[in-house]
Amino acid sequence: MRITCPICGERSVAEFTYGGDATVERPALDASVEDWSAAVYDRENPRGAHVEYWQHGMGCRAWLKVERDTVTHKIGAVTLVGRHANEEAS
């Protein structure tokens, strides 16, 4: 697989580390134990389109949201997360 990092360009998947399901919304620190349990343990495990966190650990170290098809492994849109999420990569 190859992932196009918005900062570094198209790279081998070997440079990236999987970081979990990006559709899970992380609760606030003071959220209830039920909310936290759901966020930590409950997963949809979809067949097909999915959004995941990946870190470009052997490149710019940016955390990315990567659209991936769990059947074909086709990579879709890749975006930065966090405060740079809406910035254009230059």
Partner: protein
């Protein structure tokens, strides 16, 4: 009669270049261009191997990668490669070939007695015999059974060869350089696109090597050769011979093995044996060809039983007659054409049997002109021995393979069969939907592509020569278009008198006149017979997946390339279903065996991962230290003096630290520079204890939890400025902590103004511990070391041995102690400076064992206790968990399972037997060693304590803190050991911490 070299013919051999090699120690001669199989066949060898289970004689079946029987060991010592296919191994002078699975010799094999016992060794024999009450017998018999059954033995020596890995990029990859592949490459090359043409054989052409028709007025093999040469000369084309594309992965990434020096007499030192290629192609043409399938009959596994096409290919490519009298049996026109071509090449052909009612009259007449016995509606129903084939029985057979009548015995030494060709859809299947079975044509065809590939030629069911060439050209043009190039024009070569390929009759197995006594081998490599398949059906293992696992059909090294189809069709017949409904198993990579060395590349042994060394590494090694791995790092275990055991060494070191002073290399601790206006807020959320109000110039011990409330890591963080901390982590968790913190800043708290930098390698760290540590450091620094100016947990910047550095007053050992940090390049200077400064105080370096001993005596936890299952409360650290603030892990910390009674909690153990308490021992209440009973917990860390003069340990024990004073036994039944221990507080030494505050 056996095989011999024909007077003429052989497109691949050089008759002027003899090559000598040995087979089972005896010299054999062949020719340059031979494979081991063609040379052995030419020199009259018939039995090359003994079979897997019954030790039956086995010879050469095929002429290529699909070979099921002729498996040999090539090379000696560390270079010995077991289970090599003689049919693909290129010959060179001095090659050493050895037969397998026989004792004492190939012709007299003691284990062939297994064949007599074969009625007992049917499918599922081992499951039935060794399950249930007799299960224990397996442990006794296993050794003998494993010795008796098997293939070649792997060498126990290290592989002396070198392997490489590389990545190739191209616009179009073409897999297979047969008629269709060459045609595709010629078309694609004209576009200017970067083209790679990979083929598993040494010479291009594939089955063109056994083609009698001319292409562009040239012999087909010459056309292949000149086409490949034209391609190789094009700048945009790379032709890779001896390259097997074995796997098709996501996003058009393919794996291939290039065999670089296997065929060379002198293997140049600069070349690797194999090169692993990762090929990234924009589009791919799969022209992988097809495998001829046998027509199975009684005795089909005898040496002399071959695939019809292989007999012809040996004649045309290598000038080898497989035998003196060949009998053919098949289900389509090809069997006649092959027999005729063999006869024209000078091979004696005894008979041709065709199962169809009305084979083409012209082919029958042509055969009869050669004096070949021709029979329609007939098949070879039995090959007779003894040993290899001496005669065949031809009989009239019904449409479903039953023997009708008219059995006729024909003398023959080769029994060549064909039930048609099966597309090689392995790669297609790996990168697409499952292959579909075309019931009408009786073949599997490629499914729907999931990746960007186009199939061409016989792998796509296009068997005619000119049709395959035309389809290849079209595929080449479409592939370059898909890769973004203009479709080039293509001029197709002219094929002489092309006859349309006939569809074979659907029959894979003919029954035997001997009925149930017949030995019809479906999977020859795994000795699976038609009776085994029937047995599996009777016993209910009827799905394809069950059949495969119960009988091991298709699970040998050839992955059933010439046996799966017959097995499936037999099961379909037994179930009275179509093959399409019975289904096929999935084709998985690798398509052909891959040497593990090639996957390892240049990173075997010590190179398997980077080795990390501290700036003081060489000093440790030169001063008696035994180095041990700690994650990717190497750390000194102990510094040995002459004659010392490990225990003596670390006990001496630990004692010296408590008495005077010692230093230990702590450069491996993870270090993260945390900067930004929100640095304190960030750490306050990350650690379970408060960090918001740590003053500048102070360090604090912090505990980090995971989201689920369990312990993650611990370490100290030093506040260097209002907006700056130096965080330390455990050696093992340096990477994971950094990654988690980056994740939090990116996803959860993007509003926090904090930046993280890993500075683990930037700093060398030295812990200086012992009552004299302050005095020694004072001699090498300009920092005021007095207790008043530099209190416990203080952090100061200044000089260390004249270089810039930082010192923090921290103690892991429980003694007065400091951690001295200097930039990595000054690490050795600081280390040697400290040792020089402390010489009159008998300063010593100490290693990991002494470091562990000192912390165990203090009851400090480390990686062994932070095992991913423990909570802060389990380890007696509940005081470190804030009740007032929010932090990572807080919400899930008090879930019922994490606070219930009976959790394993930290305790100290003292040996009452003067014996070491081994790590991993289970804590039990029974004194009797043999019957440990229920486990109440386990030992996590241990040492001999010089302070207590006893063996002590840390352990996790059910309700531990309430059981101080109890007597238990540390049971270690596997390694042997049953030590009486007393449970106590884990703070063995100086529990009120007075020593570190002086």
């Amino acid at each position: 009669m056996s095989g011999y070299r024909l007077k003429t013919g052989g497109s691949l051999i050089d008759r002027d270049a003899p090559v000598s090699f040995t087979f089972d120690g005896k010299p054999v001669s062949g020719l340059q261009g031979d494979t081991v199989a063609s040379a052995l066949l030419a020199s009259g060898h018939r039995t090359l191997a003994r079979s897997f289970k019954y030790h039956r004689r086995r010879g050469i079946v095929s002429c290529g990668t699909e070979e099921s029987n002729a498996l040999i060991t090539i090379g000696e010592g560390g270079r010995a490669e077991p289970n090599a296919r003689a049919t693909t191994a290129e010959l060179y002078t001095g090659l050493v070939a050895t037969s397998q699975n026989r004792w004492p010799s190939l012709n007299f094999d003691v284990m062939s007695v297994n064949g007599l016992l074969s009625p007992f060794f049917g499918a599922g024999f081992y499951y039935k015999t060794f399950m249930g009450p007799t299960r224990g017998a397996w442990h006794f018999y296993e050794h003998f059974i494993r010795r008796a059954a098997g293939m070649g033995a792997a060498s126990k020596q290290a592989d002396p060869d070198r392997y490489e890995k590389t990545t190739l990029f191209c616009d179009v990859l073409i897999v297979g350089a047969g008629a269709a592949g060459l045609s595709a490459a010629l078309a694609a090359a004209r576009s200017g696109a970067r083209v790679i043409l990979a083929d598993e054989n040494a010479a291009p052409g594939g089955w063109l090597q056994a083609e009698t028709r001319k292409i562009d007025d040239m012999p087909a093999s010459d056309w292949a050769k000149s086409s490949a040469a034209t391609l190789d000369a094009s700048e945009n084309v790379r032709v890779l011979p001896r390259t097997t594309v074995y796997g098709y992965y996501d996003q058009n990434q393919l794996g291939a093995i290039e065999r670089v020096t296997d065929h060379l007499l002198v293997k140049p030192g600069h070349l690797p044996r194999h090169r692993h290629l990762t090929i990234r192609a924009t589009s791919v043409v799969l022209a992988t060809g097809a495998f001829e399938q046998p027509l199975l009959h009684d005795g089909n596994d005898r040496p002399g039983g071959m695939l019809a096409g292989a007999v012809l290919r040996y004649a045309l490519s290598y000038g080898v007659a497989a035998g003196g009298r060949v009998a053919f049996s098949g289900t389509h026109d090809g069997i006649w054409e092959t027999a005729l071509a063999c006869a024209e090449a000078g091979i004696g052909v005894a008979a041709v049997a065709d199962t169809r009612r009305d084979p083409p009259a012209d082919l029958v007449a042509a055969c009869e002109k050669f004096g070949i016995k021709a029979r329609a509606r007939a098949a070879i129903v039995r090959a007779d021995g003894p040993g290899h084939v001496h005669a065949v029985e031809i009989a009239e057979v019904s449409r479903d393979g039953r023997v009708m009548n008219g059995i006729e015995k024909v003398n023959a030494d080769i029994c060549a069969t064909s039930s048609g060709w099966m597309p090689a859809v392995h790669l297609h299947s790996q990168a697409g939907s499952r292959p579909g079975y075309d019931e009408e044509r009786g073949i599997f065809l490629p499914g729907t592509p999931r990746e960007d590939w186009i199939a061409a030629g016989s792998c796509n069911g296009t068997f005619g020569l000119s049709a395959a060439i035309a389809e290849g050209a079209t595929a080449g043009r479409e592939a370059v278009k898909a890769a973004g190039f203009r479709r080039p024009r293509a001029a197709l070569p002219v094929v002489e008198a092309d006859r349309e390929a006939s569809e074979p009759m659907h029959l894979r197995i003919v029954e035997s006149p001997r009925g149930t006594k017949a030995k019809i081998f479906v999977d020859q490599q795994h000795d699976v017979t038609a009776s085994d398949v029937k047995l599996a059906h009777r016993e209910g293992f009827r799905s394809v997946e069950h059949l495969k696992r119960y009988t091991t059909l298709g699970m040998a090294t050839d992955q059933g390339k010439t046996s799966n189809v017959a097995g499936l069709s037999l099961m379909a017949k037994l179930r009275d279903q179509n093959i399409a409904d019975v289904g096929t198993t999935t084709f998985r990579a690798p398509y052909a065996p891959v040497a593990l060395g090639a996957l390892g590349g240049r990173e075997p042994g010590a190179h398997i991962r980077p080795l990390r060394k501290t700036p003081m590494h060489d000093w440790h090694a030169e001063n008696g230290a035994e180095m041990m791995p700690a994650g990717a790092w190497m750390r000194p275990r102990a510094y040995f003096k002459a004659g010392e055991t490990l225990e003596q060494a670390y006990v001496r070191e630990a004692r010296m630290v408590r008495q005077s002073v010692g230093i230990v290399d702590v450069s491996t601790l993870g270090k993260i520079d945390v900067q930004g206006p929100d640095a304190a807020t960030f750490l306050n959320r990350v650690y379970s204890n408060p960090f918001a109000k740590v003053p500048v110039g102070k360090a604090r011990y912090g505990l980090m939890l995971r989201d689920d409330g369990l312990l993650f890591d611990d370490g100290t963080s030093w506040r260097l400025a209002e907006d700056r901390f130096l965080m330390t982590t455990t050696t093992a968790n340096a990477g994971p902590v950094m990654q988690f913190l980056e994740f939090l800043l990116a996803t959860a708290w993007p509003d926090l103004k904090v930046h993280l930098t890993s500075v683990t390698d930037a700093w060398a760290g030295i812990a200086v511990a012992g009552p004299n540590s302050r005095d020694v450091i004072a001699r090498i620094t300009d920092i005021d070391m007095s207790n008043e100016a530099f209190p416990f947990m203080g952090v100061r910047e200044g000089t260390v041995c004249g270089n810039p550095g930082m010192i923090a007053r921290l103690s892991f050992s429980g003694e007065l102690a400091y951690e001295v940090y200097v930039p990595a390049r000054f690490g050795l200077a600081a280390w040697e400076g400290l040792l020089a400064a402390g010489r009159d105080r008998d300063i010593i370096p100490y290693g990991m064992e002494a470091l562990g001993t000192l912390r165990i005596e203090k009851g400090h936890v480390a990686g062994a206790e932070l095992d991913g299952r423990t909570t802060a409360e389990d380890l007696g650290l509940s005081g470190m968990v804030s009740k007032k603030k929010d932090f990572i892990g807080k919400a899930m910390l008090n879930r019922p399972g994490l606070v219930e009674d009976k959790r394993l909690k930290l305790v100290g153990l003292k040996s009452e037997d003067s014996a070491s308490i081994r790590i991993g021992s289970q804590l039990v209440q029974t004194e009797e060693a043999g019957k440990p009973g229920k486990s109440h917990g386990h030992v996590t860390s241990n040492c001999y304590s010089p302070a207590l003069e006893a063996y002590i340990a840390l352990a996790l024990l059910e309700d531990g803190p309430e059981r101080h004073g109890e007597t238990l036994w540390a049971a270690d039944p596997v390694r042997g050991g049953h030590v009486k221990v007393s449970v106590r507080d884990p703070h063995f030494f100086d529990p009120d911490g007075s020593r570190m505050h002086v």
